[in-house]
Structure formats: C-alpha cells, structure tokens
C-alpha cells in the first residue's frame, strides 16, 4: 500500500511547510522524526475519505496548537536568561536603562503632545467622517470661516455631506449666582449635537432648528466637566437660570461626558445656540451682520461626509456650489473658494494646521534621531559586554546551541533592556509632558485645554519605540555573534583577534554615527536658538519694550457704544496719570492677539475689476494717542486726534502696504474709501510704517486704522508706555482699571514683552528652541558617553603597547596626544557625515526658521567646534589614565 509518488511528495511538502511554524531549533532537532511519524500515520489513514479528512485536521491542529507554546517556551527561557544576565552586571543594566529612559522618555513626551493636539479623534460618533471646511479668498491668504448664510446654502441638497455644522467661540462671563467667571462658550448651529452624535448626559442638548432667529433661544447646555466642577454634577441644575454676560439663559442640559467641543485648544465650558452669539458678545448691531452678511466669515464649519464619498469628491461637489454662490452673490462671494481637509488636518485651526503638522513632523524626526543615538549607545554597551562574553557564546555554540538561537537570545536581551528602559521612560515622559502643559497654560488670554493624558496610543507608541530601539540595539551584538568563529573563540578564551577586529569596526561605525547624529541635533538646536533671537529682534513695526497691555471687554457688561467709549476715555486718562506711565491709548486688538478683524476696502470712484474682487485688509480701531504710545512711526500725513469722533467726518490711517496696493506710486493722503458699497466714505489722513500684526513670520499685510471714537469696538486693549520697568506697573494698571469700572471684565494685564513671549508671537519659536536644544544636549551627552567608552576600551587594549613605549622612554604627552588624536579623528569623521546629514534635512527645518538659513555656515562651524571640544574632553580621561599606567604592571599582564 505504497502511496503514489507525486501525491506523496506533495503532502510531504505541505507537512514540511506546516512544520515551519515551529521554532528552528525544534525543527532541526526533531524535523526528520516528525516526518517519519507523519508518513507512517498518513499510510495508516489511507482508507476512507472520512479518515483522511480527520487525519489532516488532526495534523494541522496539532502543529498550530504546538507552535505558539514552543515559541513562548523559548521566549520565556531567553527572557529569564536575559534578566539573570542583567542582574549579574547591575552597573551596566542601570546605565543602559537610564539612557533608554531619557531617549524613550523624550520621544514619548513629544508623541503625547502630538497625540493631544493632532491625532486624538474628536469624542463624537464616527469622527473619521468629519472634515473641516474653510474659506480662502484672494486677499487674505489665511483660510478662515464661513458666513451663516453661506453655510445654510451649502447645507441645502448637498450630495457630498450628510450635514454641515457651524460653531463660533464666544468669550463669556458666566454667573451662576456666586460671582462671574471667565469662560469660553461655543455658539453652535442647532444641528451641532445631532450631527456629531453627542447625546445629553442630563436634560437635553440644543435641538436641530433651535435658534434660527436672532435671540430666540436663550438656553445653554453645559459641558460635562464644567457641570461637575461648578455644579457638583447636580442633575437638578436643568431648568435653572444662569447669567451669561449679563443675559439670563436657562440651563436645558449637560452634554455627554468626555465631549469637550470641536475645538482642539480652547477649553469650552458651555454651548449656546448660534442665535445667542451677537447678544452674548454685547453686539446688538452684529445681529443682522451675523445672520445676513455673506462676507462675515465667522463660523468654523465641519461637515460629515456621506458614506462612500471621498474627500476629493466632496471638494468637487462643494466647488460647484461655491461657483453658483459666486454667480448669485458676486459682491460677497465673488473671489471665494473653499479649503476642505480632514478635521485632524485643520487643528488647531485651518489657518495654522499645515504649519503645525510640519513642525510636528520635524520634531518627530529630531526625536527619532535622538532615539537612534540612544540605541547606538545601548548597542555599544551590549557589544562591550559581548567582548567579555565571547567565551560564553563560544561554549554555548560548542555544546550545540545554534547561531540562530544565540542571535535570538541576544535580541531578546536587547528588547528586555529596552522594555525596562521603556517602563522607566514613562514617568520621564509624563513629567516632560506636564511641564510642557504648564508652559502652555501660562498663556492667560484665553482658557486653553491641554489634556496630555496617556492613552493607549501614547503607551503603544512608547512600547513600539522601546521594542524598536531594543531590536536595533540587540542587532549589532547579534550580528557579531553570528560571525564569530567558535573554534578561534574557544582557543583564545574569547579574545580572538579577528572577532575583536570585527567588533571594533561595528563599535567604531556606531560611534561615528552617534557623533554625526548629535551634530544634526545640535545644529538644529542652534538654528532654532538663532531663529528665536532673530524673531525677538525683528522689527515688529512698534516698540514693544516698556509697554503694559490690558485687555478689557466692556461689551460683556452690556455697555452700548457710548458707554464703552466713555469707559475707554476715562480709563485712558486715569492710566496715563499713573506715576510710572508716560502715555496710554487703546487698540481694538493688540498685535499677536488670538483674534483679528478685517474689512473690505472700496476705493471711491473705482469699480472692482471683477464682481466681488474687492481688496481686503486687516482693520483695527485705535485711540488718538496709539501711534505715539505704541511707537508706530508716522510716514505721511497726520495721526488721529480727540476731535476725530462721530460728530466729525470719518477718517482713517493706512499702512504702507495698503497704500501701495491701492495707489501704487501715488500719495494716499486725501484719498477716500468705503468699507461697504453703500457705506460712508472716509478720508485717508495718514500713513504709518508697516508692521507685523498676527504672526511674526507673515509677509507685509495691508492694515486700516480707524479712530476708536468713530468705530467703537466691543472690547479693546489698553496699552501704556511706562517710564521704567513695565512689570512694576502691571498691578497699578490693573488697579486703575478696576477703580474706573469694576464691572468691566479684565481678560489679562501683562507686559507686552511677556505677551509676545507667551502669545502666538514667540511661543512656537521658544518651544522649538527648547525642544531642539533638549534633544541636542541629550544627544551630545549620549554621544560623548559612547566616545568615552570606545576610547577607554581602546586604551585598555593598548595598555601593553603603551607600557612598552613608556618603558622605552616615550613622552607621556606624546601618548596622550596620540589617544586624543584618535578621539579627534572620530569627532571629525562624525562631524563631516553629520554636516552632510544636517544639510540634507535642512529643507524640512527651513519653514520653521525666521531670519536664518538652514545652511547657516557660522552655526555649522560653531557647533562643529563645540562637538570636537566635547569629544576631546571625553577622550582626555582615558588618555590620562593610559599614561598613569605603570609600565612594569602593563608588561607583566602579558
């Protein structure tokens, strides 16, 4: 009953393939026997289909069940062995674990930050379907929101989106009876909660269709955390009335736990229907604007894609709608196109999203480089130890352990060290992330939500990073073991020349790599520092030193325009009279505030080239003394006076860029413009120097200045020029404003310098410099530890030779010099490679730098000098030890 040839060969091939699931050792030990058993069993099961089927099922089951058990057994054995080996050498283990804790900790903390801001999905149902929709137009290069009217039109019969929601943050003072508290409120379209799929925790949420007409739904839904903190999670709050910016609103419910709005940075405490937004911002005149004007791009819009609609299809469908709106409303929608990106790409807002992601990618790259240095260090440590373990490896091989087995065991050892390092890295990462969070929270102008909780994504990333660096670190010694010659190792007690040469080469390569990468990290650190320094010295168009600023919101107390103006005047007089204050004035939004305002500028007597093609400009209202107090130089004409009020003809001041755009090569003074097609004409009375208004890296932008008395803002920022230390005047300014009117909410009072440092002017540059330098210094430290190890090893190897040379009368200084030269050679080779590497990644860093080229020669030169100096310092200790060797002692060793 011999099976037929071909069928037999095939089944055996299948069995052999199946057996491959088992560990290699197992196969080499018992593979042949298993095949014998298989053949015998197969021969027995020849009769009857049922028996054959049963036989195959049993065989497959048998292997599939056994394989994981056998692999686990080996893993357990290797792990136990690795842990025992690590315990035998505690100094090595602690050094390795600490090194990894730093490397993995830095990487993980960075990932925690990125996760919180960029990756973590919104806590809504099916967040992957949400996309951000923003407006782009020809005149303001930054993407911004949509108008309510346009949103309604985009919602109607939309083939791409099942629905669109709009929202708009409002700053508010909420009073539940125990005094007002500054919070951020989100004004939302009625469908907000239903489209996002957020249920109420208590009561109800805002309903679709609620708040269609201005002021018609005076209700508020609390955010869960706010409810828990301020109302002790009391369900009976539903039905209670609270005062928000002085207006009574009824609490109708609490949003589901964990839902914190669709904002990624803002800490939102409550939600109101969009209809309440104008009333809450104290802007009665804003009501028609918000509900009617198509060019009031106030709403942040999110859309939920219909099933099976791609984002490209959505873009196409929305472009068609945008074109038809442009035809219908050429004046307002003429030059408008839409920017549609996944919601996560539009964080923290569509305007800064791409920049944020680029910064994130760059810093991730830097963190990975730091991690590479860490892994190289561990690899070097493992290799140094492999030198002393050469004999052990040789013995194990001679008693039949296979190379694959030993490689596997060395890799396991690397991973065990890395996992221990990863565990130690978690508190490090947590501390780093928390200190970052504290840094961000010092930005007082708006309540920020910085939730750097560790979730499974962060822990997963830490685990992945730890395993990857463990495998990377274990690879070098494993490869070394793979190439070791057993006989030679045994013969010489593990210190065989050829293997040592090999190992030396691996170690030297790793070292050069470490030095190269630490140069890259140091160069980027230095570039960021230089860039921060340039940014700080940038001409912002005003003189920030010596200024104190105070942000006030009189409209939140329900003040009408006249009352607000009266407050502004009284406060200005009062602050200007303070002892340390030279002058004071008002500006509706200070430079580098989180908010800004813009207008369309219709030049009198000039028809737009195309319908809707009306130039846009930043716009700000300022007090009469603003230019003098802020230090904005007047280039032509005059500045405002107290007489420029509502009883006099409307006037404005332009900056150079707007003048150049509107009247190239001509004198702007005396020209007349309107801010609406049917608005009152205003005359240009002056021109000021260009400045930076929103981002320090922005190109020169057009700006319109209007007198505060002709265009009274809802809230404004007082700026006071002090005669000496501005920080000393902060409290006096705060007290003065409180005394003038205790009811006017004060959002913040601080020096302009600290506003620039903490605010969106410099903070990104400061964080960049901080992070990249942290990486650079850590990298340098790790690389110099590595260099020290290699040089010390080199000196130990040469102690015999050095002893002979000293006995023959060599000068100690010559020997020190030869050891130092070796260190310097490493540093020079590493630096050369590092320079090439840094130049290669320079283009990634370029967009994040201001005023300094990523190829700045001076930076490269000074970093190289520092690196070589540190390398020499690291080599000096072993060099001195080399000459302190007693020649006789060294000679006796052989």
């Amino acid at each position: 009953m011999t099976p037929r040839g071909p069928s037999r060969a095939r089944t055996e091939r299948f069995f052999r393939a199946l057996v491959r699931l088992l560990p290699l050792d197992f196969r080499t030990e018992h593979g042949r026997e298993m095949e014998q058993v298989f053949r015998a069993q197969r021969g027995e099961a020849r009769e009857g289909t049922a028996t054959v089927a049963r036989f195959w099922l049993d065989t497959v089951q048998d292997v599939v069940r056994t394989a994981p058990r056998e692999h686990l057994a080996i893993l357990k054995q290797d792990t136990t062995y690795a842990i025992r080996a690590l315990r035998r050498t505690p100094a090595f283990s602690i050094a390795a674990i600490l090194t990894l804790a730093i490397g993995i900790g830095a990487t993980t903390s960075l990932f925690t930050i990125l996760n919180a801001f960029l990756f973590r999905p919104l806590p809504v149902s099916r967040p992957g379907e949400l996309v951000s929709i923003a407006t782009l137009d020809r005149h303001i290069e930054l993407p911004h929101g949509l108008s309510l009217r346009d949103l309604e039109d985009y919602r109607a019969d939309n083939p791409a989106f099942s629905d669109l929601v709009g929202c708009m943050p409002v700053r508010a003072a909420l009073n539940a009876g125990g005094g007002a508290e500054q919070i951020a409120i989100e004004a939302v379209t009625g469908n907000y909660f239903s489209v996002l799929g957020v249920p109420p925790a208590v009561g109800r949420v805002i309903a679709p269709g609620e708040g269609r007409a201005p002021g018609d739904a005076p209700v508020v839904v609390l955010a869960f955390d706010f409810w828990r903190q301020h109302f002790a999670a009391d369900p009976s709050v539903v039905g209670r009335t609270v005062r928000v910016n002085g207006r009574p609103l009824t609490i109708v419910g609490v949003a589901a736990e964990g839902f914190h709005s669709t904002e990624s940075l803002l800490d939102v405490s409550a939600f109101v229907p969009i209809s309440m937004a104008p009333a809450l911002s104290g802007d009665a005149s804003g009501t028609p604007a918000l509900f009617e004007a198509r060019d009031r791009h106030n709403l942040r819009v999110l859309g939920r894609l219909r099933a099976a609609v791609s984002i490209a299809q959505a873009r196409a469908a929305m472009a068609v709608k945008a074109r038809s709106l442009a035809q219908q409303y050429p004046d307002t929608d003429g030059g408008v196109s839409l920017l549609i990106v996944p919601e996560t790409d539009a964080r923290p807002e569509p305007a800064t999203g791409p920049w944020f992601r680029m910064a994130a990618a760059t810093f991730t790259l830097l963190a990975m480089l730091l991690l590479a240095i860490t892994s190289a260090n561990i690899a070097n440590m493992l290799l140094a130890r492999a030198a002393t373990r050469g004999r052990e490896v040789a013995i194990r091989m001679s008693i039949g352990a296979r190379r694959g087995r030993i490689v596997r065991q060395l890799l396991t050892e690397g991973v065990v060290v890395a996992l221990a390092g990863g565990a130690a890295a978690i508190p490090v990462a947590w501390m780093l992330a928390q200190s970052f969070a504290r840094g961000v929270r010092t930005y007082r102008a708006i309540p920020l939500r910085v939730d750097l909780a560790f979730d499974w994504r962060v822990l997963g990333a830490a685990l992945f990073v730890a395993c990857a660096s463990g495998i990377a670190a274990g690879l070098a010694p494993a490869l070394y073991a793979f190439r070791a010659d057993v006989n030679a190792l045994l013969k010489t007690g593990g210190r065989v020349q050829s293997a040592a040469v090999d190992r030396g080469r691996v170690r030297r390569t790793l070292l050069v790599l470490q030095i190269a990468i630490s140069l890259v990290l140091l160069v980027s650190g230095a570039l960021f520092v230089k860039s921060l320094d340039r940014v700080r010295r940038l001409d912002l168009g005003f003189k920030p030193d010596g200024l104190v600023i105070a942000e006030t919101e009189p409209a939140l107390s329900g003040y009408a325009a006249d009352e607000r103006l009266a407050f502004y005047r009284r406060a200005e007089e009062r602050v200007a009279a303070l002892p340390r204050v030279a002058s004071a004035s008002w500006v509706s939004w200070a430079p580098f505030s989180p908010e800004s305002d813009d207008v369309k500028v219709y030049v009198e007597g000039r028809a737009p080239a195309r319908p809707g093609d009306v130039p846009m400009s930043f716009a700000v209202s300022v007090g009469a003394g603003y230019f003098a107090a802020a230090g904005v130089p007047l280039v032509a004409g005059r500045s405002f006076t107290a007489a420029d009020d509502r009883t006099h003809a409307p006037v404005l001041v332009v900056n150079q860029t707007l003048a150049r755009q509107l009247w190239p090569g001509q004198d702007p003074i005396g020209r007349r413009v309107r801010f609406a097609p049917d608005g009152r004409a205003a005359e240009v009375i002056g021109m000021v120097r260009d400045g930076k208004y929103y981002f320090v890296w922005e190109e020169a932008r057009p700006m319109v200045f209007r007198p505060i008395a002709q265009d009274v803002p809802l809230g404004a920022t007082l700026i006071a020029r002090t005669t000496d230390r501005p920080a000393a005047a902060v409290d006096a300014v705060r007290r003065a404003l409180r005394e003038v009117d205790p009811d006017v909410p004060l959002a913040m009072v601080e020096t302009m310098t600290s506003h620039l440092e903490q605010g969106n002017a410099f903070i990104i540059f400061r964080l960049g410099a901080l992070l990249s330098n942290l990486f650079g210094v850590t990298g340098l430290l790790l690389a110099s530890i590595g260099l020290y190890g290699v040089i010390a090893y080199h000196v130990a190897q040469r102690s015999h030779e050095i002893g002979v040379r000293m006995a023959l009368g060599a000068q100690p200084s010559a020997i020190v010099a030869s050891v130092l030269a070796r260190g310097a050679r490493f540093a020079a080779t590493g630096a050369a490679i590092g320079i090439a590497l840094a130049a290669a990644i320079g283009r990634f860093v370029r967009p994040l730098l201001v005023g300094v080229s990523p190829f700045d020669a001076a930076t490269y030169a000074s970093v190289t000098v520092v690196l070589v100096a540190v390398a020499l310092a690291a080599s000096l200790v072993p060099a001195r030890r080399a000459v302190s060797v007693d020649p006789l002692e060294a000679l006796r060793v052989e």
């Binding site: 026997e33 298993m34 058993v37 069993q41 048998d62 069940r65 056994t66 056998e70």
Partner: protein, 121 residues
Amino acid sequence: MTDRDRDVQGLLPLTPPMLHLLLALADGDKHGYAILKEVARRTRGKVRLGPSTLYGLIKRASADGLIAEADERPDPALDDERRRYYRLTTRGRRLAVAEIERLESLVDLALEKKLLRPRTA
C-alpha cells in the same frame, strides 16, 4: 522523603500526555511512532498525540532528564528507515512512580469519601 524523591516532587503533577509518554516507555525503548501507537492502543484511542505534540513532550522530557536517546536503528516492523529510539531514565521512572502514587492516594481518598466504589477484583 529522600533527596531523590524531593528532586522529582517539584515536577509533579504531570500532564496526562507526559504521564502517557513515560508509561509508554516503561516496558522498553521505543521510537516516536511506536510511542504514539502504544498510547493510542492503551487508551483505546482516547489519547491521540500528533507529531509536534509528541516531540514537544519528548523535548521537555529530555531536557528534564526523564528520557534519553537510546540509539538509532531500523524498526523491523516498519520500513527500513533508521529511527531514533528513546528510553526511560531512572529519574523518569521515579517520577512516573511518584505521579502514579499521587493518583493512587487520590483514589484512596475518593474511596474513603465514598465517591468511588471499590472494584471487585
């Protein structure tokens, strides 16, 4: 309890397949396939070991010094291929006895508690 007893006590209790492996070798050296056949026959087909389970057991039993390779020779009852034979070591025999005694004491306990009726021999 002697030191030798203590030595094997740590390995108790045995898994049923391991005990069957030791029992199968108790009355003479066998190669892998013969062990499978013996176990299947003695248990009337209730315990059926596959090749990888079997060699997993053999591997562990060898590592613990319970069995050892005897020699390699052809089995006259099968084809002419040479096969590796295994034998029970003294340690393996002691362990099997210890396991049987452990089971016996359980049976005694069950009899005492009247969970089991004594078999009439």
